[in-house]
Point group: D2
Chain length 370, copies 4
């Protein structure tokens, strides 16, 4: 039996006996050794190890956000873990260069032995997608195959259970809905209050009005340009109006054009606009990290599709997938936090922002500073 | 007057008086200084400097390949220059991370002052696209604008002239057509010859036949799997047949589905398959570099579109372009050397390749080794 | 006269007429055109542009920290700017790969024309070093030259003035000294107080005692190992004691072994240990960013020295510097925030940390949560 | 029993049952779960997987170069494999950023459980060093420990055997010695010959003489500068003379200042200078790749030392090594192909190179071109 003060050797700690004994080349078995098959195996194992770490970190964030009340220090932990995931993702993208050192001709030396194994069968990658919040109905279909065929029954049970649980996206939606700053009664004594949506609508209206006026009056651009600019302002006005319309938002949710609820969207907007208030700093950074991760996932899918095009061309991939086209489609359609990207479209310049009442500003600051 | 042995100072040599005096913030002019505008200016200037270097290198390669006979050492030079371009491209992609440090809110502080300046107006980038071989008719249209409006008349004249000249793609096509190995009479004395296309067709036929036989006979997979595999083989057979059909190829050229001529395609295939012969080594590396560059251009377009989505959302970009959507489309449609990627689809394993006659092999080797 | 609503064109905004007209190849002037000189010029110009941005960001942080009271939102801004600097630095390191595409033989084609221009003459890089806090007395000497010879009198005046002002390091030192949490009377009513150094010493003592006991008692390691571990504990004890000794610290300051004051060091330690308290989050991230930057500066110096070794070997560099050796030395000796790295050595596990009194914890939290 | 046409599943092929079941957290065993220990284990496993691939590729290159006659196509293969190694190395360096997401405080949560496991115990990394050519006598000593203590007897036997065999460096030395171009009788009929060293000495002499003359005559620099330049020329003259002196070279070999033999050094110089001749192209690229790898190994050691400084400070590392200082020293002293770097110092501009006799040039070209 071991003990905290017993010694441990590097090899044993890392279980290198298992790790370094898991590369059995099929091309060797069939007496046609293909040098590059070793790389093919090892890089896939490396990917799976990183997937395990991503799941480990992601699950811990999901656990933190599963609580009714998320503490500031928990948001900090979540940010650190998401930051780690994004750093791993960068490596996942960059190391595609390594697999691309297998040339198409060299790949053909062992490609046949792999059939029908395919990266599409990665159980861990499927878990990651589900944990982040990719829904079955939004998946790009793959060779018209039912997904159920890809994984074992036991694995399928686990995936189904994961899908039923709260994903990172679901928890984000709920957390943003719970954030108490959208409609804020400032103190018990006074009956002052701050209604973000109302104030923000007003500010947007003012901004557009002033801008239109300035454009009309200026002598520095000609009428043609003036009209273009005024037209752009009009477009903005219509856009903003549709955004603030809750019914319109719910309509889009139904159609699947949006995924984040109206209230959650407004909270995300508020966090982005007032990120300088101390209490909103960590929430802001948290949203940023989710966008980083979504972008990197998209980069990975794009690079992955390019790599497949390069090594196997338009041939049907191992596992029967028409590799390149399928992967390209997932890059375009499997985004998860798209609605957070959209927040940028709703912002107005700092100088036009509704000013927070002093009492509210104090509430958002540290006790120490009072 | 200067002389080879006169001294020069770092600042003067680099003309830093110009370089470091070219950052005039519009937000300063209008007395609303926006800290991040400096970065916005500087990173665009950095991009333009790199574009200048790319044009410098690309032009030198175009010049080398414009000759009737391209020497091996010139191919080597071309590879080095293309390799440099690809390394620059990697930095162009990676440094998008720097511009993403401008948050959407901070960008709004100076965005209005920039209208309608837009990256779409980069004259050098347009040149690069044309030099590589992007044709006007293949361009994704941009705001329904005629391209002519974007550049000055003088610039438009230059662009038109560039389009009339030979692009890298055109020269590649011609060079591949000139390569003398497709149909090779081995020596003057004998009337032996080696016809690559004929031999290759035969090899493909053999390979498919043997594979079908082996699948039919095996006891290790069940009938269902056998049928899937045999079906895949059939698809391959049809595919290869269509590929070898010159008329079919020309049909696709007309429709714009292919761009490389039949003969050039066969030469590219030959180079890829027999890259181990000394004389084909540099040509092979040259083709690889073109694929690298094409991939990196695609990566750049993808990352660029993501950056735009992140910083300005779905808003209309500076210059009136609907940034994200436009850029996304160019990533999918502006590939130039796509046909080279396709070569991978045509390859067969080394073990199945037609064996080159000894006399031919000698011809492809160094004199020294004879 | 321009106006906020006047239009601006991309080229004019970026002053590309200057930027793209600043590459005059000396090899062309002497009628021995060397293709690669273009890259040599352009990459140096790119470096200088980035240096300008770094100075712009760094100066803004110095300004923020020059104030008597640094607000939390200012620390946030400082972090964002430093983060940007670190991202630029990564590119500065990575793009060394581009300059390495100039082979030694190609460099010789124009090397002679550059004499004695040298990167050592970069006025902006010198400014960056000074702004971060590199002192003249800590500089590695360069060819036994007086530094005064390198820059013009006007430039030298500017550098002298910069050295007299507060560097980032100086302001860090002062800011850490001002931080009010080292000795904290919790409320006006009570005369409770929390003395960090006293409590921390106690915690370290306890930890070492318990660990020694556990090692002595365990049956899981043999006596030889026990003794090694106990010896290591003893070393730790001596080390911690010396650290807490203010006189010892001041002694080291005099010798130049340390640069951060005793009080500032203790504050930095406290921030690192209690980084989970909301009010300490941003200060913690700020310290992290400074370490990032210091590490990247070291990476840059290391990579730079390798590049010089590769391209010019051990030859005397342009400008007369013995390139490689000089640069290698600066990598080892020009660290600025070394003392922050050292903080890691002083830490103890979270489980052993002195527990903060509730009243203090509340003070460090947001008003809203009270 | 399996067969080439039996199917294989992704999980089984990659043996994920082993790979993903090899992460047993010691902190869990002792009931003090530390979240970050998972990353610590996984990243080390990833490193070991990559080490396995490096050994696989490196061994194949060593095998190719172990033959009496190395074919051009084998040099091509060697270059591809070394290129792959360099790409892996880049990832090894870049992913240090991932391990740096473990903060010093978090590392302390499980650091004690790891004692005395240490990266120094990596058997595979030791093999890589030996395979490249690091000799025991050149190793930086580590805690005054005999190396024999680190590895098991069985492992030590393997390492000893490896050290007795030919390393990549040894084979490079021998291969360069065998290269037939240093002293070349051009044809059997004529008794013409080309003696590289003799011709090169002459060229160097001419170059220096002409340069001195030009400097003396110029009116464009003042006497002070003239003298500096003439002094630099003198230094060059002395340097070149010492280089060409075989006895001097052998003296340095004895002292350990050089490692490559005189003849091998001259061959490496010739390859670098006449790399444009077709037959020397691949040899040139091969030498370049070895330099890439050596540089990346140094970068890895530098980054590794920084990471250790950051996470554990100057504390004694796990395993009892004084991490930072030891690693820093290895970065400075464990270079293997340093002599190849030095070649740059010996080069002269292309315009001054001895012209190869036509017959020789033909020999170095392809048969096809004759």
């Amino acid at each position: 039996m071991e003990n905290e003060y017993s010694s441990i050797h590097y090899d044993k700690y890392l279980q290198l006996n298992k790790i370094l004994d898991a590369q059995k080349l099929r091309s060797n078995e069939f007496d046609k050794p293909a040098h590059d098959e070793m790389l093919f195996i090892i890089i896939h194992q490396v990917y799976e190890l990183w997937f395990k770490e991503i799941i480990h970190d992601l699950n811990s964030v999901i656990k933190l956000f599963g609580k009714e009340k998320v503490q500031d220090r928990q948001i900090s932990d979540a940010i650190s873990r998401l930051d780690r995931i994004s750093k791993i993702q960068k490596i996942l993208v960059d190391q595609i260069e390594i697999i691309e050192t297998i040339t198409p001709l060299d790949f053909l030396d062992f490609r046949n032995y792999l059939l029908p194994a395919s990266g599409f069968q990665s159980f861990q990658f499927r878990q990651i997608e589900i944990l982040f919040g990719l829904k079955n109905e939004n998946r790009v279909s793959y060779n018209q195959c039912a997904y159920s065929g890809v994984f074992s029954k036991k694995e399928q049970v686990i995936l189904n259970k994961l899908e039923e649980g709260d994903s990172m996206f679901d928890l984000l939606d709920k957390w943003l809905e719970r954030i108490p700053f959208l409609n804020f009664s400032i103190s018990n004594q006074s009956n002052q209050s701050f209604n973000f949506i109302k104030e923000y609508k007003k500010a947007v209206g003012n901004m557009l009005k002033l801008e239109a006026l300035a454009i009309s009056k200026t002598h520095f651009i000609n009428d043609h340009e003036k009209n273009i600019r005024l037209k752009m302002l009009d477009d903005s006005r219509v856009y903003f109006k549709s955004i603030f319309d809750k019914n319109n938002h719910n309509e889009k949710l139904k159609k699947g054009e949006l995924k984040l609820s109206y209230k959650a969207t407004m909270s995300a907007l508020l966090i982005n606009l007032y990120r300088d208030e101390p209490i909103l700093r960590q929430p802001y950074l948290f949203l940023q990290k989710l966008i980083d991760i979504d972008d990197l996932l998209t980069s990975w899918r794009n690079r992955h599709s390019q790599m497949v095009l390069r090594i196997i061309g338009k041939k049907i991939g191992t596992g029967g997938s028409s590799g390149f086209d399928y992967l390209k489609k997932t890059a375009d359609n499997h985004r998860i936090f798209y609605d957070l990207h959209n927040i940028s479209t709703l912002m107005i310049p700092r100088s036009e922002l509704p000013i927070l009442p002093v009492e509210l500003k104090n509430k958002l600051n540290f006790s120490f500073n009072q």
